[in-house]
Each structure stands twice: as structure tokens, then as C-alpha cells.
Amino acid sequence: MKSNKSSNFITKYLSSISKYLATIMPALLWMVIFFVIPLLFIVVVSFSTRGDVGNIVYKFTLQNYIKLLNPLYINIFFKSILIALYTTVLCLLIGYPFAFIIANSNKKFKPLLLLLIILPFWTNSLVRTYAMIVLLRTEGIINTLLLHFHIINVPLNLMYNNFAVMIGMLYMMFPFMVLPLYTSIEKLDKRILDAASDLGAGPISKFLKITLPLTKGGIVSGSILVFIPTLGLFFVTDLMGGSKVILMSNLIKNQFLTARDWPFGSAISVILILIMISVILFSSRVPGAKGTKEVL
């Protein structure tokens, strides 16, 4: 028995390495082959020159990066970040109570509610956005109803402004916030909250001191899942906002398509990626600090 245990220890150690390899390696290999290596192409292009007909001339230059220092582009960058930030905060404020109610609802209905959140998103996003426009436009359903019931006298201007963009973004990104929040709130141990109540904690301090810190992981990953893709979501700002502003994603798209300046487009992308990586590294410190201690 005893010798068995010590050999067990060694196999356990070996298997922990093999397990680590078995768990991480498939994802890592996949990402390196189909993501990192293809991306090198973009990095190389970002140091190349645009040929006269829009082809890529592989002649080293830093011009594409220098061009980005123009306040014109820096401005666009800040505007994009601001919109993504607003969207994230909006999704979080509306999504948190929603996820909370669902996570605490009757166990029978949870899967159903979860499916109901995601179901609208199985419909093509363009078609959904068109439906949104039917609702919001000046002669649309909402205005017609409000006018009919004499709540307003003049139709509200709901389309092609920041309000429309925010509504559109919220509609597109909502499940990306709710699902991670749900998974983290759902696993919250209710006994802790009961204990807190027993010890005399009010609902607000319970929420601030227990629920919120324990669901931080969900908040962080939900925010990342909303914030980052929002930077690349141009068709909502185009369709709901009337394409009156150029955002980061439009700028990159224009470089690759209309301007056919792939080197400049690649340079913007590389910078965007670098900035986002630093955002991720920063945010991973927030829940990570606690998490790593637990692992140790």
C-alpha cells in the first residue's frame, strides 16, 4: 500500500504535466497556427509600402506608423473608445440586475430563460437592425403610437443620432454581457449571503461587500466581451447612426477596401492590437490577483 502511494505521487506529478499539456496544448497550437502565424503577415505588411495601384511593395518603412500620429486619427481612436466604453457601461448597468434575477429564479426556468436571451441572436443581425429602424424612425411604430395616445405632439427624433447608436449597440452586445454575468452570479453561494443577513448586514452592504466582489470575474469578462468587439462593430454605427462618424473599425475597413492602403490599415490594426493587449493584461490583474493565490 505504502509503495503504491509514493509511486502515485510520482505519477500524479507526471500526469499534472501531461494534463497541463493535454489541456492547454490543443488551444495553444490551434491559436498559434491559425491566428498568430497568419497575423505575422499583417505585421509584415504594416512595415511595407503601398504601390501605385494599391498593391503591396515589400520595402521597409515606418511611414505607416508615423502617419498615425496625425491628430485626425488619434481623435478617431478616442471617439471609438468612448463609444465602446458607453456601450459597456450601459450593458453592465442593465444586464447585471437582469442576470441576477435570472440566476436567482426558479431552477426549472433558468435554462428556458437562458435560451430566450440568446434566441433573438440566431436571427441575422442586419435583418434585426432593419427591424429596429422600423421601430425607431420618425414615422415609425414608436412615434406613431406615442402620437396616437397624445403622449407627444411632435415625432421624436430617434434615428441617426447617438441615442440610436447606443440602442443598437445595446441590442447587439447584450448577451455577451449577460451570459458571463449569469455564470458567475449563478455559482454564488447563497449561504454566505444568509450568514451576512444573520450577522445584521443590510441588502445594500450585502450587495456591495459580498455579491459584487464575488461576481467580479463575471463583470470583468462580460465587460471585455462587450468592450472589445464593440470597437470593431461598424455596421451598427453605420446603419443606426447614418455613417456620419468614422470610427476605428471604419477607418481600418476603408484602408483595406476603398483606399487600398493595406500597409496603413495593417499599421492601425497592429497598434489597436497592442493597446488592447495592454487593456487585457491590466484587467486580468483585477480578478487574477485573488485567483492565483487560490491556485497556489
Partner: protein
């Protein structure tokens, strides 16, 4: 007790409000699937015809089949790989963990177009053929990041002692994983799977670049319809998908006697997906039942630009199978060819794009001896500046830019040309094409220059003029500017004649003017890409399209200017008399086509970025 009741009501109302927000647009969309009008704009009457035509639309059905196959397979793969990685990342500490963590996150960050182009370049270098496999690979790549992120959230704070207990009690690591770890993290895995499935089902940009001939997915199909209008068939399809899902859920609930748990959700989900898949395959095999054809022709074109009946006739006449793939803009098509994508035998390109493609060496010269029907094309559409001598291209259809306006809001005579768009009375009421070449070109024309002018002084003047125009702009829209005119959002639009023509069919108040400064012309042409495999079939197709009766058939389906003058005798007079589509000859003579302006396009892009 009272307080408890109150909170229940508040909770319920909150859920209800959010679900209303999520579902009211879906209801609108369902309602419009029964709308008479072909455009998703205003209600004109009740009909079931879109459901009928959906069942006969082999293109859409095949796209549905492709989409579901790709979504299901890529979800399964990404959930397995992603869950394992999340568990490993949570449990083990190793050198370079930060780097791995970042690599797993970065796909979320990357602009889709960059990922699409880089993957396409990679596939073409390592010679992975474009098709379902490449699509699945791409979808797995961006889905893994989402799965990892969601599963990690669930693992955060996971009590490891539970696993240790199981091991101490003699469970093997594998058993521990399946019986202890997995059930605990299941909600996270399911949430991740739902996200991955949803993302795959709705992805457009990455899919566009990595899709090959004959692997069009539903979102690609929908987006390629934008130039000519997304048809309510798509609404009908969405309605059916929602309906089937709801039925499946209800069915599952009944069977389980309203007792379902997370494990069963997977069973339900897979069965839903399976049902969809098999229905799709079933309909598809039913929709097309023909013998094995000899050769294949890969055509790359806008959607809703060539009637299916013409393709069917071609397939029958020559016993060649046509694989019809779609794009939504000239520029996308170019980017795809530039990155080495697709073995397309035939594609459609607008005038300036023919010039760019030929300059980049991406086109084949055409063997004109095989194009016997070229004589049917009017001489004014041949030998144009973008392709002297038609070495690379044959005309397909042409368009002219008109200003269409709502005559109930703008009196007749207030708009005669581009210049009038600058009038202060049109504050916040114009919709223009979201295209820098078109808008800047129009401004140059208004200032008396050519639309292809590139001198710095002219561009500076155009920029100043455009800054003054901004307050009048309600929206830019190159997908469907007619929509905002029909639904009353804007009072006037500058768009292609077909848009004006379609708008006036929906809304009789819509009138249009031919801008007095001169027309903005565009001609779309068939070209053969350099990488074409079946050049012979491509030339047969080009020639087939130029048959007068076939050409007339196209004109009856879509309102675009037909260059095939020999076909006019087969075309209804009503169509030929539509001045938005066939403007008077003298206006066409004053008109101009866009040319490739080489490097100056980056100057235009900068102006565009500045004025917006």
C-alpha cells in the same frame, strides 16, 4: 410578506421590459415576413408569397444548410478545445502563462477584416482550399476566445477540494473531470457554446474572406443582397427558425414535464440543431434533384443581380454546374482576389474596378472570337476609357446616379442639380451614398471639375464644400439609401437610378431629377480572374448572358440599364421608359465613369475621414 410580493413584481416587470426590448424587433421582423412589399420599409399588405418563394430559393436554402453545418461543427470543436484550455489555465501554473492568456484573448480584439484577410493569405500560402473546412477553422479560431472567457468566469473561485476528495476516494483524473469538474462548470460551458454558436451563425466579414465557391453562408447571402435590397424571404426564414426553435423548446418542456436541468439543455440544444440540420439537408436535396453535371463554373457576383432562372437555363443548355458566390462591394471582391482567395472563373466588376484589377494583373484577357453575341451590345457601352478595346471585360448592366426626392416635402424645381443639395432649406434631410469616390466626385462635378480630378487645389475646394454640406446630411448609406426616402427619414437622396426607381414604386411621391451638372455613370462588367480554372465555361457564360432574350429576362427582374441594345425589342416599353434607369441620351453623353486614380485615392480617403 408584502415586501416580498413587491420585489417579485419589480423583478418580473424588469424581466418583462428587457424581454420586450429583445423581442419587439423580432416581432416586427416576423410581421414583415408577411408584407407584400419587397423592401423591408413600409407595410403594404398581407401575403404568404415570401414563404413560398423561400422554399424555391435554392440559393438561400443552401446557405442555411452551410450555416448550420458550420455553426454546429465549429461550436463543438471550440467548446472542447476552449473548455480544456480554460480548465488548464485555471489549474496549472507555468512559464509564459500570461502570454498564453493573451493569445487566447487577442482574437476578440482584432478587427474582423484583419483576421479575415490574414487567414485568407495564410490559407492561400499553405494551399488549404477555401470552403467549409476553411470556414470551420476560422469560426473555431474566433469562438475559442469566447468559450475560454466564459468558462473561466465559472471556474473563478472553483473549490478545488471537491476534486481532491473525488481523487482521494479513488476516482481517476478522467473520471473526476467528467463526474465532478464538468458538471460544476457546465453552466459556463453551455453559455460558451451558446455564444460560439451565435457568433458562428452571424459572422459576415471573416466568413466572406475564407469562404470559397459553393460555400456561401446565410449572413454572406444576406449582406450581398444589400446593393439590391434584402428580400422578405430572409424575414420568412428567420420566422421559421424562431418558430422551429420555440416548438422544439415547448416539446422538450412537455416531455420533461417542465423539469429540465442544464444537462438536458444540451440534449435539447443538440436535438434542435440536429432537427435544423436535417430539415435543411432535406429541403436542399428536395430543391435540387439533377444529374451529376460535367463541369463546374464558379461565378462571383452581387446577390439579387442575376435571376436564378437565367442560371438554371445556362446549366441546362451547357450541362455545366454553376457555383454562385456573392460579395457586397467591388472593394471586398478586390481584397479577396488580392489576398489570393478563391478559384473564381468569372466575376463582376464595376468600371474603375476593371481598371484596378487589370493593372494589378489579376485578370485574364478574353478570347473575343468566342463571344459571338458581343455584337448585341450598343457601341456606346463598348471600348470605354476603363478598358479600351474590351480586352478584359464585357458589359453586364449600367447605372446612373440621380437625385430622388419626396415631392410632398420638396416642391418641384427646388432641386435641379448637385448644387441645390447645398441649399440651407435641406438642413438634416439628405441621404447620400456612403462612398468617398461618389460623394467627393459629385462635389467635384458640382464645382465644374471632372469626377476623377485629383489636383490638390480641386480637392481642397471639394473638401471645403463638403464641410459646408455636412449640416444637410441626415445619413450616409450605400446599402439602401432608398429606405430612408421611402420611410420619410430624409427628403432627398443621391443614389443610383435603380434605387430611385424602386423608391417611386413604393412611394408615389418620390420623383427624381437628372443632375444638370452631368451624370455619374457606372457600368458593371464580367471579367475573368487570373486564377480561373474553367475559362471556357466562363466565356460560354459571358456569351450566354449577351443573348438578347436572356438579357431581356434579366432586365425584367432587375431595374438596371441594359447595354444590350439588341435585347430592347424583348423588353417591356414601361421599363425602357423609366428615366431613372434609362436617362436621356444627351445626359448620358455629358456623364462620366469613375476611373482608377491610383495613389490619389489615399488623399480622398483622408478628406473623407476629415469631413465626417
Amino acid at each position: 410578506m408584502m415586501k416580498n410580493k413587491k420585489t417579485v413584481i419589480i423583478k418580473f416587470t424588469y424581466l418583462l421590459l428587457i424581454f420586450m426590448f429583445l423581442y419587439i424587433p423580432i416581432m416586427v421582423l416576423i410581421a414583415f415576413s408577411f408584407n407584400q412589399s419587397k423592401l423591408n420599409v413600409v407595410w403594404t399588405g398581407f401575403t404568404f408569397k415570401w414563404y413560398q418563394s423561400l422554399l424555391h430559393n435554392a440559393g438561400i436554402l443552401e446557405a442555411v444548410k452551410n450555416s448550420f453545418i458550420i455553426a454546429i461543427i465549429s461550436t463543438i470543436i471550440s467548446v472542447i478545445i476552449g473548455t480544456l484550455a480554460a480548465v488548464g489555465m485555471y489549474r496549472y501554473r507555468f512559464k509564459g502563462k500570461r502570454i498564453v492568456d493573451t493569445i487566447l484573448y487577442v482574437p476578440l480584439v482584432i478587427p474582423e477584416i484583419v483576421m479575415g484577410i490574414s487567414l485568407l493569405a495564410f490559407f492561400s500560402i499553405v494551399k488549404i482550399p477555401l470552403g467549409r473546412v476553411s470556414l470551420i477553422v476560422a469560426h473555431v479560431t474566433f469562438s475559442i476566445a469566447y468559450v475560454v472567457a466564459v468558462v473561466k468566469t465559472r471556474l473563478d473561485g472553483f473549490d478545488k477540494s471537491v476534486e481532491e476528495v473525488a481523487m482521494d476516494l479513488g476516482a481517476t483524473p478522467l473520471k473526476t473531470f467528467f463526474y465532478v469538474t464538468l458538471p460544476i462548470i457546465m453552466p459556463g460551458v453551455i453559455a460558451g457554446a451558446l455564444l460560439a454558436f451565435t457568433l458562428s451563425l452571424d459572422d459576415v466579414i471573416i466568413s466572406f474572406f475564407v469562404a470559397g465557391p459553393g460555400s456561401v453562408t446565410l449572413p454572406l447571402k444576406v449582406f450581398s443582397m444589400v446593393k439590391f435590397g434584402v428580400t422578405p424571404e430572409i424575414n420568412a426564414l428567420s420566422t421559421l427558425i424562431i418558430l422551429l426553435t420555440v416548438i422544439a423548446i415547448c416539446f422538450a418542456l412537455l416531455i420533461r414535464n417542465i423539469h429540465i436541468n442544464m444537462k438536458k439543455v444540451i440534449v435539447i440544444l443538440t436535438s434542435i440543431l440536429f432537427v435544423f440540420g436535417s430539415i435543411g439537408v432535406g429541403i436542399f436535396t428536395y430543391a435540387k434533384k439533377n444529374e451529376q453535371p460535367k463541369a463546374v463554373l464558379n461565378v462571383f457576383n452581387w446577390s439579387e443581380y442575376l435571376p436564378q432562372s437565367v442560371i438554371d437555363k445556362f446549366e441546362k443548355t451547357y450541362n455545366i454546374k454553376v457555383n454562385y458566390s456573392t460579395f457586397s462591394s467591388n472593394e471586398e471582391m478586390l481584397a479577396k482576389l488580392m489576398a489570393g482567395g478563391g478559384n473564381y472563373d468569372l466575376t463582376v466588376a464595376s468600371d474603375f474596378m476593371v481598371e484596378i484589377l487589370s493593372k494589378q494583373g489579376l485578370l485574364q484577357k478574353i478570347d473575343k472570337s468566342s463571344l459571338t453575341n458581343l455584337k448585341n451590345i450598343g457601341p456606346q457601352y463598348l471600348n470605354l476609357p476603363f478598358d479600351k478595346g474590351n480586352k478584359y471585360s464585357t458589359p453586364y448592366m449600367w447605372l446612373a446616379g440621380v437625385i430622388a426626392y419626396d415631392s410632398s416635402k420638396i416642391p418641384k424645381g427646388h432641386i435641379n442639380g448637385y448644387k441645390d443639395l447645398w441649399k440651407p432649406e435641406f438642413k438634416n434631410s439628405l441621404t447620400l451614398l456612403d462612398d468617398e469616390r461618389v460623394v467627393i466626385g459629385m462635389t467635384l462635378k458640382m464645382l465644374g471639375y471632372s469626377i476623377n480630378e485629383t489636383s490638390p487645389e480641386a480637392l481642397e475646394k471639394a473638401k471645403e464644400a463638403l464641410i459646408k454640406l455636412q449640416p444637410n446630411i441626415r445619413s450616409y448609406d450605400s446599402d439602401s439609401p432608398k429606405t430612408s426616402l421611402i420611410n420619410g427619414e430624409s427628403k432627398a437622396i443621391f443614389a443610383w437610378g435603380a434605387e430611385g426607381s424602386l423608391a417611386s414604386r413604393e412611394n408615389p411621391n418620390v420623383k427624381y431629377v437628372i443632375p444638370k451638372e452631368g451624370l455619374f455613370l457606372q457600368q458593371d462588367n464580367f471579367v475573368i480572374p487570373k486564377a480561373a480554372k474553367n475559362i471556357k465555361a466562363a466565356e460560354l457564360f459571358m456569351n450566354f448572358i449577351m443573348r438578347p432574350e436572356i438579357s431581356a429576362e434579366i432586365s425584367h427582374s432587375f431595374p438596371y440599364g441594359n447595354p444590350n441594345t439588341a435585347a430592347y425589342k424583348y423588353i417591356d416599353k414601361k421599363i425602357l421608359n423609366d428615366k431613372a434607369v434609362y436617362p436621356p441620351d444627351d445626359a448620358v453623353k455629358k456623364g462620366e465613369y469613375l476611373r482608377d486614380i491610383g495613389k490619389s485615392v489615399t488623399d480622398l480617403d483622408k478628406i473623407w475621414t476629415e469631413i465626417k
